[in-house]
Symmetry: C2
Subunit: 233 residues, 2 copies
Amino acid sequence: MTRMTLNNWQSVQSEVLARLHAREWKPGELIPNEADLAEEFGCARATVNRALQNLAEEGLLDRKRKAGTRVAIHPVRRATMRIPVIRDEITSSGSMYGYNLISALDCAPPSNMAELMRLGPEVQALHVICVHNADKKPYVLEDRWINSDWVGPDERLQFSDISPNQWLVANVPFTAGDIAFSAITASIAESKFLSCAPGQALFAIDRTTRNKERVITSVRLTFAPGYRINTVI
Amino acid sequence: MTRMTLNNWQSVQSEVLARLHAREWKPGELIPNEADLAEEFGCARATVNRALQNLAEEGLLDRKRKAGTRVAIHPVRRATMRIPVIRDEITSSGSMYGYNLISALDCAPPSNMAELMRLGPEVQALHVICVHNADKKPYVLEDRWINSDWVGPDERLQFSDISPNQWLVANVPFTAGDIAFSAITASIAESKFLSCAPGQALFAIDRTTRNKERVITSVRLTFAPGYRINTVI
DNA sequence: TAGTGGTCTAGACCACCCG
DNA sequence: GGGTGGTCTAGACCACTAG
């Protein structure tokens, strides 16, 4: 066994990655245990552990106590992507950010939304519709329901100046959320707000944000035609 | 200072999370340094480090040497999502998986694809079109270009039985890739393969896979209407 | 039950970078 | 310059689980 000196976990990770890419360790195979690798690499076991744990997190290795570490069969199963913070997304692409409040009304939400927010019948919530612009052209339509418990009468006045998203992020703590991506067909209303043809294919993001199982807000973002979301593996 | 005993990094992380959710430490604020927290929690600094590093990775904290650790202003900016392995996605939802090869031909790719794959003019690549079915109904249309260097004449015969994706994952190592999500309008051809109306909004994933800067394959997956991709923060 | 990964500790040194 | 996070080390004990 050639003995090398890799004295930080990044270099250990690189070496392991190289062996995976070279198929020296093949998918499904068992690789040597941490103690042996530590000796071969000339470093502490904790250093090897850090490297292998990182690769396991990325989905390239499967680790189990006693069973050892195996090369994952499906090398990459996860992608991490930025959740767009609309204002940043627009300004960082060099465009000028603009914001139009369309409406902000208290009313009883439709039944599916009431159920999601666990509101009784007749209970009202705040419904906000607004448009974010890039260089004065519509960029995304925001259609949001907010649980009234989280926003007082004073705050909602501000929504003519700052977007509810920006306000919520800064003022309401949350513990969990879920996101869904889909393709939808532009309705008449959507096409009007986004200045596109009805029936056009639009990219939509639905996001629900919770604080300890209670829904704070649920939003649909409908993007202008041509929007893409990119990420790297 | 109340002194507690948190002797593993998960409990340290929970405690820190609780303070963040309770707004005890507010967005933008500096939190105590690792040594102080270690003393307060009654554990080693390395344990605090592990917890804080994990929270920083998740986007909840911003850490800088000398500057210290701050609560992130935009609490969550990343979502990690499963890259669907089509066959698994279909079978794990309880449906029967099926596969139809439409065509597999060597031909010169269109210019944008040739450029992406860095092929000279007139150089051919393998173009595969196939459909994956769930319970005999079209689920996703796969339109793929494969660099001929990576697939010999023998292998391509197999594509009538197993999908090129499955074959590539098992046989060709890759080092990097990128993915894009978008909404497209169904063309005549797409609508035919997916049994939907032309003009319908469809969810599309474009994926390019590389081995050391050389493109192995580039694929567009076009999903049948109604497809959604879900993830949790 | 024995082998493997998961983690903690105490101490140390280093890299970075704010003031 | 000095305080902060980033990491390594050696040793130890524990938790899990395959055989």
